[in-house]
């Protein structure tokens, strides 16, 4: 392996109650792609935040090009050429795409003016490197998750970094976009950039990484060349046990229809959507990113307006013009953007879980019965195996996997009959992923009808009893979950997307 360019020596970071990073040493050479893996809560995020200057280590040293460097802010880290793109997007929603990409290094004209033309040109160049065409004048608030991820990556590219940290850059991307990104990462490698790449996708590790560092519980487990490892070996070392069966066994759905969508149309987005959700089934909705799956999910929860269509609950037409209509009809929804829609980050795990079912358990009284609430929440936290140091711990401080469990948990309290989940395991580690899958299957076995929107094919194939494939706003195929194959799904999903190279991000 090449000479170490970046070295982190004996890094320690402690938060109240948790030793997040425990004496970790890591060195990466120029032009080396280092995959950093570990379960959620293994200390990856903390480690890279320290490297990027967003957090300060309690102990340890950072060396760059043979020199000890000290910095205590992202500004100084950037000045040294160390930068990161984070998993939780750090974009300013009120600014446009170009302003976000160039924020912190906006090109100037006389009198401190923004050189708008140069700013947009440079932003477009960065997007072009990712093979994406996105109007740089659009507000970030109006972009979907995949588009925001692209902006975040472009922002990193615009900085000419020497050490480039990427925290799950592909979590929200489609297969095509992922390929482009991996090409960009390879190009950065050619330019001698040291890259630290965090991902939960094993395939990507073997596609691009030179070496792999595995963390567990804040400690360094192993660093090895990628070619000397196998996917199973990495998983086993990450979780410290073998994960034999990823997916729980399928159940036996009833034929009784709980919920139906009839002739749903949204101009330019969704066309003639018809579907039934049966008692006890997991209905997978597959497709490439941005084919209208997320919009469909939100409409079924009353969170987006639609032009035409009817909804039947147990055969009876119902109105779905707001989430509270949906909740009253026994429909719950787990968003694909848990930070924005799913959680009150600055409140405790406790309160988040209790939130949607508050009105049910106050029994019309004004005061919250704390005793009932506590026992109810404890029960759920145990059932979902959520790791909290204390139940009043703020959700902010929890790992992605635990946050996602809380989002699921908060809906279980209201005992929904229909649960709509959108990308339920995005950006969470294999251990939590498997736990979420088991929770979903348990619910189905108890008779809940589950609609699962996912762009991860293995998840769709492993979990669904029945699969609907969407392309360009239409349902283009229905398959049996037990017998469908990856090839059949891809063929169905791609059949309508004729122009495969024009990335769907343009929408």
């Amino acid at each position: 392996m090449s000479e170490p360019f970046l070295e982190m020596r004996n890094i320690v970071k402690t938060y109240p109650g948790v030793r997040a990073v425990d004496n970790v040493t890591l060195s990466v050479g120029r032009g080396e792609i280092r995959a950093l893996v570990g379960e959620n809560g293994a200390g990856k995020s903390t480690l890279i935040k320290i490297l990027a200057g967003a957090e300060q280590a309690d102990a340890g040293e950072i060396w760059l090009g043979g020199q000890r460097v000290r910095y205590d802010s992202p500004v100084e880290a950037l000045r040294l050429g160390i930068g990161a793109i984070y998993q939780e997007f750090n974009l300013v929603p009120q600014l446009n795409v170009a302003q976000n990409i160039m924020l912190g290094q906006v090109p100037k004209k006389w009198g401190g003016q923004v050189d708008t033309e140069a700013m947009h040109r440079r932003a477009r160049e960065m997007l072009a490197r990712l093979n994406v065409s996105l109007d740089t004048r659009r507000l970030v608030a109006d972009l979907d998750v995949a588009q925001q991820q692209v902006v975040e990556i472009a922002k990193g590219l615009a900085r000419d970094l020497r050490v480039f940290i990427m925290d799950e850059p592909t979590a929200a991307l489609s297969a095509v976009e992922t390929e482009h990104l991996l090409d960009v990462v390879r190009a950065l490698k050619q330019q001698g950039v040291a890259i630290i790449y965090i991902t939960h996708r094993m395939r990507e590790i073997f596609q691009i990484a030179d070496s792999v560092t595995i963390l567990k519980d804040g400690r360094h487990v192993e660093t090895s060349p990628a070619r000397s490892l196998t996917s199973d070996a990495i998983v086993a070392k990450m979780i410290g046990r073998d994960l034999t069966d990823y997916y729980p066994p399928r159940g036996t759905p009833a034929s009784e229809v709980l919920f139906s969508v009839r002739d749903l149309n949204v101009a330019g987005k969704l066309f003639d959507i018809n579907l039934d959700v049966r008692r006890g089934e997991i209905l997978g909705i597959a497709g490439l990113e941005g084919q209208g799956q997320r919009e469909l999910a939100r409409i079924m929860f009353g969170a987006l307006p639609y032009d035409r269509g009817t909804f039947l609950r147990n055969g009876q037409p119902i109105r779905l013009s707001s989430p509270s209509d949906a909740i009253r009809a026994g429909i719950a929804y787990v968003s694909d953007d848990r930070k924005r829609d799913g959680l009150v980050l600055i409140r405790s795990a406790n309160e988040n879980i209790a939130l949607p079912s508050l009105s049910r358990r106050t029994n019309g009284k004004i005061l919250i019965d704390e005793k009932t609430e506590r026992s109810f929440v404890h029960h759920l936290i145990d059932r979902l195996a959520i790791k909290v140091t204390h139940r009043s711990q703020k959700v902010n401080n929890l790992s992605g996997g635990n946050q996602q469990k809380i989002v699921v948990g908060k809906w279980l309290g209201m005992e929904p009959q229909i649960l709509i989940v959108s990308e339920p395991t995005r950006g969470i580690d294999v251990g939590s992923k498997s736990e979420i899958h088991h929770i979903l299957r348990d619910l189905a076995n108890q008779g809940v009808g589950i609609v699962m929107v996912s762009s991860e094919l293995p998840e769709i194939l492993g979990m669904s009893d029945r699969i609907l494939v969407m392309a360009e706003g239409r349902i283009v195929a229905e398959m049996d979950g037990a017998t469908a194959t990856e090839e059949q799904l891809m063929a169905a999903a791609a059949i309508h997307s004729v122009s495969d190279t024009s990335v769907p991000v343009t929408s």
Binding site: S73, P74, Y86, P93, L103, G112, V114, R124, T506
Partner: protein, 341 residues
Amino acid sequence: MSSSVTTLTQQPFSVRSVTRLLGRIGPAYYALLILLIVAAASQERFLTGPNLTNLIRNSTVLGIVTIGQIATMLVAGIDLSVGSVISLTTVIAALQMESHPEATPGIVLLCLLIGLLIGAVNGFGVGYLRLNPLIFTLASGTAIQGLTLHLLYSPGGSVTREFRELSRGAIGPFDCSFCPGGTLGPIPYAAIYLLVLYVVGTWVLKRTVFGLAVYAVGGNEASARLSGLRTERIKLAVYILSSIFAVLGGLFLASRIGSGDPLVGDPYTLDSITAGVLGGTSLFGGVGDLWGGLAAVLTLGVLSTMLNFNNVSPFYQFIIKGVILIGALAIGYLRTRRKTV
């Protein structure tokens, strides 16, 4: 690639784009337009030169202070000390000019320096110490109010004759072939001050890197910091500007009333916040602009002129102002809610 980008952005002209444009125009412009029509229709005297000049002069202090207030609101802050700074400025200007009339320019400079100092304290507390802006500026404002009353406990002092001209002067009238009567003006200095400050202020906010940083800090502070912006420094600058604008407002007010008054600035704190909110600036930061604020300032000015014409008691005017602020907040809430769901 670039050709596909341009095709994406060229939106066809349609009814929908017109309604969207109308929806984007802040409530303050509609309120101003409606009030102007009502005022012009119900009061013959309203559309006369002297009355309009008076309206502008009465709106100038608020107009100036609102610029700074909007800047603090854009960084998700607020400045509750502006009223006290205005009062302090009138008192210092009047007392000093009475005893040293020859040093008027120096006294103006002194006031600006005091504003710089107060703004630096506010900006340090809010930006660097990360204290709550509401509490911090309330506290600093209270302390400044105390100091002001200590210097002068009841209205007094007097400014120089030349200094008075700053608020009372006008230029013109000019020949203007298409104006009624063939002349335009005279145009009060006050209108020129407002126009210059709002044009320059808008240029700074919309065109400069500093302005972009202000919107970024208010929009998502964590992101701005991680992007390498020195968020503390930007907040410091914004609070300094807010105090400086309060001083400028105070100087204009001193020129107008001709003396110092330790409590005269008090209403401008809430009024400037009302103007900001009514003008479409979000209290949560990152959203808003100055022109909406100016429209709101003039709206409040027209409203108060109308109420005065009709001899409505000042006490009722307070009630009306309170209702307007709540109404503006409600409109702002409804507008953002429609966007997100």
